[in-house]
Point group: C2
Chain length 408, copies 2
């Protein structure tokens, strides 16, 4: 299937409007937007996946109910306050956010998804939130995707947008989205969000399956550190305005849609890793030849999550021993005596380990590989058909600096 990459992010697909505004939840700096709305002009099917953290934030609890209903009209989100660990008042505030947006959009509150990101343990400043919802509703436009992308940023250094189109049986289907943060496994109590919209027609149950499958190959394979926030949220709205024959089963049309959704999700996920806090290197770990896909996923994530591996890449140190150590610590089933490892970048490719034992490698060539910002770790377990890719970044002084004094 050929995709055409397009601009427009979360408002690229037909029938979606968005707006993002500054009201001072996050900061008094007026250039920093902090409330946004993304709305479909017609009721949409909705799918979502959320944090597995046992202390799920109030907006996550609210969204779980909305997603269970299968349809939604809009997403309202804020940055600056996560509305997490906020007890009964937090739940009320999340519902009130939905209600305020519903009134402005002429919808029911049960059709409004809510997302909050920022410091946890603080109650939402509801007057500011109300003002933000009013302003955002007034600013809605077909080109508002970028504003929404800005409004959900916390420690992100750039807004993250992606969109593509593909043709299937004569219909042009568009999928686009925005994201923030640094992975379901995330950096800063600041949460990962991904909001994706599409004009594809797809039944809610099928959409939910696709969202779960796309998340598993994208956001669930990104790590900056190893913590999962109370607020991590991925939402997909599908309003059917592309007029394709509605996808109702896991047929070819579903598979094509899933591949396209996964492509958008992977692009957003890679942007999150690229923008990891303090990152100086972007790491891609490809595992092949694992006994199962699960084993490949476990091994790839273990390598990209290891603080020792991450610190070694920051130091441009070819410490393959830490890579193999991380593989060996993962729960991936494997035969240690079959594992091969390479490092690769624009600077070249060098084999570090064959059949589980170290190789004498070219230090000068390896130094050239490690100088690059984008580096791949290739692992072949030579033991089966399982493959997976994970993305992450290095561990730098700046990561420590950013995270040592975030709250204060």
């Amino acid at each position: 299937m050929n995709y055409t990459k397009i601009t427009g992010g979360v408002t690229a697909a037909k029938g979606f409007l968005a707006g993002g505004v500054h009201v001072g939840v996050k900061s008094s700096n007026k250039s920093k937007k902090d409330v946004c709305i993304i709305v479909s002009t017609s009721l949409a099917a909705v799918g979502g996946v959320f944090t597995q953290n046992k202390f799920a934030a109030a907006p996550v609890e609210w969204c779980r109910q909305v997603v269970a209903g299968g349809v939604a009209k809009a997403i309202v989100a804020n940055s600056g306050c996560a509305n997490a660990c906020t007890g009964a008042l937090g739940l009320t505030n999340a519902e009130t956010m939905a209600d305020l947006a519903a009134v402005k959009l002429g919808a029911k509150k049960e059709q409004i998804l809510v997302a909050s990101t920022g410091v946890i343990g603080h109650q939402l400043p509801m007057e500011k939130i109300q003002a933000g919802i009013t302003k955002a509703a007034e600013s809605l436009s077909e080109s508002g995707g970028s504003q929404a992308a800005e409004a959900i940023m916390t420690t992100d250094t750039y807004a993250k947008e992606s969109a593509l189109q593909y043709e299937y049986e004569g219909n042009i289907i568009t999928i686009g989205g925005i994201a923030k943060g640094s992975g379901m496994i995330h950096p800063n109590m600041a949460t990962m969000f991904a909001f994706i919209t599409t004009d594809a027609a797809i039944e809610p149950a099928c959409l939910q399956k696709a969202v779960k499958a796309a998340a598993d190959k994208s956001f669930n394979m990104v790590t900056v550190d190893q913590d999962t926030s109370t607020n991590d949220t991925m939402l997909v709205l599908a309003n059917g305005q592309a007029k394709n024959k509605a996808i109702k089963t896991e047929d070819q049309a579903y598979q094509v849609f899933l591949d396209a959704l996964t492509a958008v999700a992977i692009e957003l996920a890679k942007m999150i890793a690229h923008d990891g806090e303090g990152a100086t290197k972007f790491l891609e770990v490809q595992v092949q030849g694992a006994k199962t896909e699960t084993a490949a996923r476990l091994a790839a994530k273990a390598v990209v999550s290891s603080t020792l591996v991450k610190a070694a890449f920051f130091g441009e140190d070819a410490n393959w021993g830490r890579i193999i150590c991380a593989v060996g610590n993962s729960e991936a089933e494997l035969d240690p005596e079959k594992v091969d490892i390479w490092l690769e970048s624009k600077g070249g490719k060098e084999k570090m380990m064959a059949s589980g034992a170290s190789l004498v490698f070219d230090e000068a060539k390896t130094a050239e590989i490690l100088k690059e910002r984008d580096i791949k770790v290739l692992i072949n377990m030579n033991d089966g058909p399982g493959a997976a890719t994970a993305w992450g970044c290095d561990l730098s002084y700046d990561y420590v600096k950013i995270n040592a004094d975030y709250r204060t």
Copy 2:
């Protein structure tokens, strides 16, 4: 049971000699010892636990065989080279180390335990190792415990020794040991070692049970980062020279011995956390009221392992949200609405969270608490009898620095 803390470390117990020497495996700096031997004057029962990493190093494979035999005479160890990922030659070299020591000590090689720590993927420099074993055997003495403690250091900033005595049914029993590195969950491919000796008489099967139980409450509850080395090793030799009635079942005598062994192991484990790479804070996380001990262990380890929690303590930031987030990410079964959290140090004690929701806390008082080097996180799940304690350290700029250029 009252213990008397004593000096002497791994040679405190009757019938143990040790020696440590410099031969240049680790460095040309002659003050850095790198080969040591610890020997019992009579054949001893042996127990051991080892890394769970699938790429276990050659000396670990060798030790597993010796421990399975139930008796041993000595431990020979080196720092500077881990003999890991070294293939068939690595296994041969580990066996040769045992054989060389056996010849010097008049024992069988199957009675000699071997341990190596340092860079992985390099073959042992066997001429230096041979010279080291010869020199160490010549330097054996009843006061050699400190030399052995020095010889196993890698990035450790001080040698780690502990010993105690207790009286049971008229016999004085002594337990003492040395350790290095930073946790079974360790920092630097540099491995955690703990070598403990005792003159207690205990059957090998009972000793093995005690070693496992003591490790679970000590070294397995320490973390500096989240990687487990290829070489992590805890060994206990018990030579029976205290002349107590041999411990053969899990009776009262066993329980008293286990408590004392655990006390030595915890003291060594805490030294490892105190000396964590780049650490500026020592963290103790006490979980109470968990549904089970397992839940308590999972939660305590999750908090002390979280890079976000660790970075916050480095910044002296009362970011209790990260603590609760780490608890929520652990696999510990819990009821989020019952969890209470305090911070405590010599500077005071302050409650941060009650019944799963944030509290307004005294920022000035909390700043006083966080200024201290030793800080406790107290978590009560109010949900059962399970309790556990984990130890660790903060994440500092120096951790990144130390680990960014270890190999080169």
